[in-house]
Amino acid sequence: MDSSMVGTDLRSASVAPSEPDTAVRTTLRIATAGSVDDGKSTLIGRLLHDTKTVFEDQLKAVEKASRRYGDGETNLALLTDGLRAEREQGITIDVAHRYFTTPLRSFIVADTPGHAQYTRNMVTGASTSDIAIVLVDARHGVVDQTRRHSLIATMLGVEAIVVAVNKMDLVGWDQAEYERISKEVHAFVDGLPHPVPVFSIPMSALLGDNVVATSTNTPWYDGPPLLTFLEQFDASVESLPGARVHVQRVIRPQGGDHADFRGYAGVVAAGTLTIGEPITVLPSGRTTKVSGLHRWGQPVADAGAGHAVVVELADDVDVARGDVLVAGDATHPPEVAEDIVIDVCWMIDQPLLVGTRHWFKHGTRTGHATVTAIEHRYDLVSLEHEPTDELVLNDIGRVHLRLSEPIVADLYRHHAEGGRLILIDAASNTTAGAAMIAAISAWSPEI
C-alpha cells in the first residue's frame, strides 16, 4: 500500500445498504414555527445545549456575543441565529439547520423565522419536516402567525404539530391558561384543509422546563417532555402500494465492461420496487418489467421509499429524464395531466396573475406553466376563501395551471411526492411558488 493512503480501493469494497430494522428509528426532521419572539431559536438552543450537542467553542462564542449584544445571560438563540444581521437585530431571517443525536434517534432541526416577511424561508424549513413545533407565548396566546404557520406546515406535509406553550414561567405556570391555548390550536388545526394530530406541552424554553427533563413546575401535566416525545414519535414511512421512480438520468457507460448497460437513475417514491415487477412507463404508457436494481453501485433484490436506485428494464423501451416508472397496483394511480389545480404558497414580490407564465418543476420534469385562473386566496386567519385576481408575496391560494407538457400527476392528499411542484420565476430564475396539486381537471372555474 502506498504510504500516503489508508483504506482500500472502492472497486474491492463491497458494501450493501443496511437491512431495514424496525427497532432502529428513522431520522426525525423537525421545524420550529410561530411568531417573532415566541422563543423558537431559544428552544432549539436549549435542546442542543441540554442534549450536550453544543461544543465548548460554540458556547464560548455565544457567551461572548451575548455580552456584546447586551443580553443579561447567555442567549441560546445565538446558537442558531448565525448571520451577522440576525445577531444584530435579534431576529431570525433565514432558516438554520442544526443536528443532534440521542441514544435513541438522530434529529435534523430547521429553525425558521417568525416574521411574516420571511415566510418563504419558513416554507423551506417546514417542507422537509416530519413535525412542526409551533411555539406560542403563553402571555399572548394564539396570534396570526400561529395560524399562518400551522396552515403552511400542514399544507407542506408535516405529520403532526406540537404546540409548545412557552414562557409558562411568566404566567405563573397557570394550567387554565395552558389549556385555553392548547384547545384553541387544536380547534384551529382541526379545521384546516389538511388536519394533522396535535400534541401540546407547557414549557419554558429559557429555563428548560419540559424540554429535555420533566418540569416540577407543572405537576398537572402528565405528558412527556418535548425530547421524549420527539424520540418516540413514529414518522410514517410512505407505505403506499405502487412504487414510482421519477427518472433523473439515463446511466449508459461508454465502452468498457458495461457497454451494454442501460439503467435509469432516480429515487423510489413510496412503495417497494422488486426485480421482476411489471412497470408502466408514463406518460408513454409502455409496459415492461424490472430486470435489474442497483443501489450505491451494488445490485439489490428490492428497493424501498427514499432509496436512490438505478433500474434496468427488461425491454428496450424509450425512457428519458422526466418520465416516471410506475409499478404495481396503486390505490390511486397517477394521471397524465396538462391542466391542474394547485394550492400555492407565493414567495416573490411580483404578484401571480392570470396569464403569467412560469417555469415549473414536477419530479424531474420541467416545462412552462401558464396561469389560467385564480379561484381564491385563503384568509390565513379565518380560513375563508376570498375571491381575488392576484396572489401577492406570502399569499396562499388556489390556482389553475396549463402546462406546456404533460406530467404524471397525483393529488397531493393521495401521494405527496407526485402531488407537488415548484414554480420558478422566468425573469429572475428564483423559486417563486411551492404548489400542491388539489385537482386534475379541464379548466372549470367555480361559480
Binding site: S4, V15, R25, T124, R249, A265, G306, N429, T431
Partner: protein, 313 residues
C-alpha cells in the same frame, strides 16, 4: 500530553445505520440532479475527508458509468506533502479528471496580493482563484463538501446555493428550497454551489469512511510531527509556518481533524491511529473541528460569513 487511544468501538455505536443510509441516498440524489440539470459541473476536491466522501458518493451515483465531470483542486501552494501524494494517487486509481487552480498563479499574475508576516494565510485568496477558475473553464455548478454543522453561517445555506456574476453569496436573498425539488436555473455568468453533504455531521462523515473504507491522507491518523504551539493551536513546522520570536518547536503525537492551508490548519494531540479510535474520539469531542483546528475561523465572529459572501467554498 496525548491521551491513550480508546478501545475500538463497534461500527454503529454512534450513528444509526439507517440514518447514514438516508444521508447517502439524499446525497446521491442531489449529485445526480445537479449533474444532469447543469451543463458543466465540477467537484471541488481539497484532499480533505469531506471532499473524499463527496467524490466517493459521486462515483456511486453514476456507477457503473464513469464520473461525468472533473474534480478541481484549488491549490494554495501551502500543502501537506502527504495530501498532494494522496490526491494524485486517488485521481489515478479512481480514474477521474483533475483540474488544478493555483493560488500561486493568481499571485504571480497580480490577481491577488499576498498578505505578509508570519501569520499570513492564503486561505482567503482562494476565493479569487476559485472564481477565476470557474469562469475560465465555464463551470456552471461546483459541488462542495461543505456541511451545515461546520459553522453558523454554513448552517444557513441552501443545498443549492446561488452565486451572482461576481460570485457573491447573498445570505438575505436565498432562493426558497421547498421539498427536494432543486431549482438549478441560472443565467450565463452566474453559477451554483451544490452541497450534497449539507445534512451530514463530522461523525456521519467518519461513519461513512469506516463503512465504505474510503481512502484518506495519512495525516488524519496519529503520527509524530514537529509543531509549534500558537494561540492554543499546534501548527506544523517546516512548511509555510515561520517561527516567531520565542517560539520553541517540539515533537508531538498528533493528527489532523481538517485539511486546509498548511499555514492555518492546526493539529490536535491524539493517539487515534485507526478509524475506530477516530470514531470514538469524534463522538467524545467537545470542540468543533473548525474551532479546534482553523485559525482563520477564530479571527472574528462572522469570519466564515464574510468569506462566503466573497465567493469562498
Amino acid at each position: 500530553m496525548s491521551q491513550p487511544a480508546p478501545t475500538t468501538p463497534a461500527f454503529d455505536d454512534y450513528v444509526s445505520p439507517v440514518h447514514l443510509d438516508e444521508l447517502t441516498d439524499e446525497a446521491i440524489t442531489i449529485i445526480r440532479e445537479v449533474a444532469t440539470e447543469c451543463e458543466n459541473p465540477v467537484l471541488l476536491f481539497s484532499g480533505g475527508k469531506d471532499s473524499a466522501v463527496l467524490l466517493h458518493l459521486a462515483r456511486l451515483a453514476f456507477a457503473p458509468a464513469r464520473l461525468p465531470f472533473p474534480v478541481m483542486h484549488v491549490d494554495t501552494g501551502h500543502n501537506f506533502a502527504e495530501v498532494i501524494d494522496y490526491r494524485d494517487r486517488l485521481v489515478k486509481d479512481w480514474n477521474v479528471r483533475l483540474v488544478i487552480a493555483s493560488v500561486q498563479e493568481s499571485i504571480d499574475s497580480g490577481r491577488v496580493v499576498e498578505d505578509v508576516g508570519p501569520r499570513a494565510s492564503r486561505n482567503r485568496l482562494q476565493s479569487v482563484t476559485l472564481l477565476d477558475a470557474l469562469a475560465e473553464h465555464g463551470f456552471d455548478a461546483a459541488f462542495g463538501g461543505g456541511r451545515r454543522d461546520e459553522d453558523k453561517a454554513r448552517a444557513k445555506e441552501r443545498i443549492l446555493s446561488f452565486r451572482d456574476r461576481q460570485g457573491r453569496w447573498d445570505p438575505r436573498q436565498q432562493r426558497p428550497e421547498p421539498w427536494a425539488l432543486l431549482n438549478p436555473r441560472i443565467r450565463k455568468g452566474e453559477h451554483l454551489r451544490a452541497f450534497p453533504l449539507s445534512n451530514w455531521t463530522e461523525l456521519d462523515i467518519w461513519q461513512y469512511i469506516a463503512r465504505h473504507d474510503v481512502p484518506l491522507p495519512t495525516i488524519y491518523f496519529s503520527h509524530t510531527r514537529t509543531v509549534v504551539e500558537r494561540d492554543g493551536m499546534l501548527l506544523a513546522v517546516g512548511g509555510p509556518v515561520a517561527l516567531e520570536a520565542g517560539e520553541q518547536p517540539f515533537d508531538e503525537v498528533v493528527r489532523y481533524r481538517t485539511v486546509g492551508d498548511a499555514s492555518c490548519t492546526g493539529a490536535i494531540r491524539s493517539a487515534a491511529s485507526t478509524l475506530g479510535h477516530i470514531l470514538a474520539e469524534t463522538a467524545a469531542a467537545r470542540i468543533t473541528e473548525r474551532g479546534a483546528t482553523r485559525a482563520d475561523d477564530t479571527f472574528s465572529e462572522s469570519a466564515m460569513e464574510d468569506r462566503k459572501r466573497e465567493g469562498y467554498f
